[in-house]
Symmetry: C2
Subunit: 191 residues, 2 copies
Amino acid sequence: MINYPNGKKNSNEKTINYANRGMSLEDDLNDTNKYYLQNDIAAVYKKPTPITIVNVEYKSRSTAKITEAYFQVPSTTDYNGVYKGKYLDFEAKETKSKTSLVLSIFHPHQLQHLERVVRYGGIGFTIIRFKEYDETYFVKAEVLLNKINSSDKKSIPYNWFKENGILIPYRYQKKVDYLKVIDEYILEEQQ
Amino acid sequence: MINYPNGKKNSNEKTINYANRGMSLEDDLNDTNKYYLQNDIAAVYKKPTPITIVNVEYKSRSTAKITEAYFQVPSTTDYNGVYKGKYLDFEAKETKSKTSLVLSIFHPHQLQHLERVVRYGGIGFTIIRFKEYDETYFVKAEVLLNKINSSDKKSIPYNWFKENGILIPYRYQKKVDYLKVIDEYILEEQQ
């Protein structure tokens, strides 16, 4: 960072105070899931990127080098796992937009998968980050799917997330502490 | 197949009658999971093979070709999903041995993961196929882990699987119908 000779600080500095700034949602979720794992709380993993392998070179018995492969369209969401006996399944997306989330950010298969997860008794949800506001929302799959199915718009306004999502506060270790929200759902269910 | 001129059949032929013959356990599980999905029963998927991507060529906006990548050691099991509100998680292995299953077939991370799954209230298990007998066994993770932890042997005898596993009969569509076994566990739990 540049220190200005007049002693004044760069006008962008206030945004630098957000500890989260610059980290991707994926990185934050990886850190959070690692925290859950290391503290023996839950086992949630990001699925590997699905690829089609076309060619592999075997240089020796132990090393294999993939020399031709292509990305596949994912047929499910990126994250799933187990917590307090519950099946968790979610998709995480971030947007630079200040006004809305474009729905084409989801693959149709992912939405179909979330719908199944809910039907089969799992907890399906999405985690949406509006990067410009540094705000991360938890939205239950049922709520999001209902919104998508009830309109033919190609995006959902930012304000909808403010009203229908649950803001996940940024924490030092549990950067996106989504299990806190899950805990509330489990409590509600038990009552 | 060779037809012997004396009219007698190849002594190996009796095994060829098994419809399953020649299909890998992975193929059979993929077919089974597809059946479960298409018949709206459960959503269980094989996780993509984890790889480290080193280089990608972008020929055009829509096509990306991975030109250098390497296989990673998996940190979890291969299969997980949701059924009747339960989190399912399992590893599938097949062996050509007629006498035992070598334990090095499991990565230490996979066993550790199965132990966590059970601890967090999910249903963890393994599906083991002895190819030479065309027999596929369902073994609960708790039972297998207990066996592994209680001995320092590097393999588990075939007979142990006959005694402690549950034989999954081969069916035309549900080739490895493991949910039938899960149903019994769920019933037991409810009683």
